[in-house]
């Protein structure tokens, strides 16, 4: 994870989640990035994990001793970028599926 990621370092700058907060969540027995996300809000901000996802997997792997493949990664949902609600509600629909 890096010797610079001290407990007070922010792993998620969008939601102000510190490394210590993630470690505390792991300490309750949860075991994966998506449970950490649910508990700490890490990954829930505007960047949707673009900044924290890779460090989060590596932090959990380092703390638990599990491989990153076992730890897994944050689940990503649409929308990929913030969209104004008024724009989202009235998309141009695709009516023609001509052969």
């Amino acid at each position: 994870m890096g010797v610079h990621a001290t407990d007070d370092a922010l792993i998620c700058r969008c939601e102000n989640v510190r490394v210590a907060d993630v470690l505390a969540a792991l300490g309750t027995g949860i075991d994966g990035p998506n449970r950490v996300k649910a508990m700490t809000r890490c990954g829930m901000g505007p960047c949707q994990g673009r900044i924290c996802a890779n460090p989060l997997t590596r932090l959990i792997a380092a703390e638990t001793g599990w491989s990153p493949d076992t730890v897994g990664a944050l689940r990503i949902r649409p929308p990929l970028k913030p969209v104004l609600l008024m724009d989202y509600l009235a998309p141009e629909i695709v009516p023609e599926l001509s052969a």
Partner: protein
Amino acid sequence: MSKVVDLCVIGAGPAGLAAAARAAEGGLHVLLLDEQSAAGGQVWRNAGTALAGGLMPTTQAEKVYHGAGAALQRLAASGVDHRAGATLVDIAQPETGPETKSAPEAAPGPEAMVEITWRAPFGAEAPRVRQTAARAVIAATGAQERPVIFPGAELPGVMGVGAIQTAYKQSGLVPDGEGVVLAGHGPLLLLTLAQIRAAGGRVAAVLDLGPPGAMAAAARALPRALIGDPALMAQGVGLMLRRALSGVPVHRGVTGLRAHGTHRTGSIEAVSFTSAGRARRLPARLLGVHDGVIPNAQVSRLLSLRHVWDAGQGAFVPVRDADGAVAPGIWIVGDGAGIGGAGIAAVDGEQAALAVLARTGRARTRGAASGPQARRAAFRRGAFPARADGRACHR
């Protein structure tokens, strides 16, 4: 604008440009969506302006942007519908219900569409969110820097060295004044140092965050990590690095990196660390950090694809077949599928486009990618993703 396309390409960097152009040349109706304001991705950012002499001397631009001019000309000639500034919002794959898991022959056939939801460029007529059905999708979303986690990393004035590169390519900006500190390791850090010095900027210190020997290894990897023709760049790399590092204090074996902000503005004003057993604190107005590049994985994650951890890259990469396909009708190419650089990315994009063309019965046999770059790209698409230095990584 047609609401149904043969192929939607996401990303207009080297891989996306090659994929889109190749598919369009093969007769497909191609929509190219890219959230940047001009084609080229990151490595070829602002290529048009640069090659016209609007950024740096053209002789330099031709080296730095090697391949970009040809790629952009090819795009312009290809008939691709390129939407600069268009942002991907969602990709919905053809419906696969529980019945297809037990009966793969019931899976969506080749006519099943992938639904792309995207936001039209800034300033476009409302509604800005659009939907397009595509028979195939090639995602070429490229790379990002691996975020460096340390206390104070979120302070204004702390940025990835990639951002310093981007500021230069986009607007010719170079870090100015005192207190410019670079921290990290990797070829891009050295390149940024060299560029700042070459532009007459001062770098107050370089903090080597890598393990012993990492900086030397990064210097050796620099030609391969550079855009354009590695052979061209290698000619000047050694000299460039010697000049770049002369007179700049380099602190090795740095631990405990911390950025400190001012009370008034909150921006960074100093950086503290330990090096060679001594605690140090340096004034810093701009701290450029780097810890390598990783795939920009939002799209591959959105698609719920299977990924494997590549230990060499320190990142997940999507599992792909020999052509880069990750799901029915969906391919992922370029650095977004695993870091390999611009040359491999372009070949990767071509290969996926050929697969899309073959799927529609329009492949042309003479179009197959070949040569050392193609062989590296093909190796890279195998079960063991290759690192940028060409060696395989075990899963």
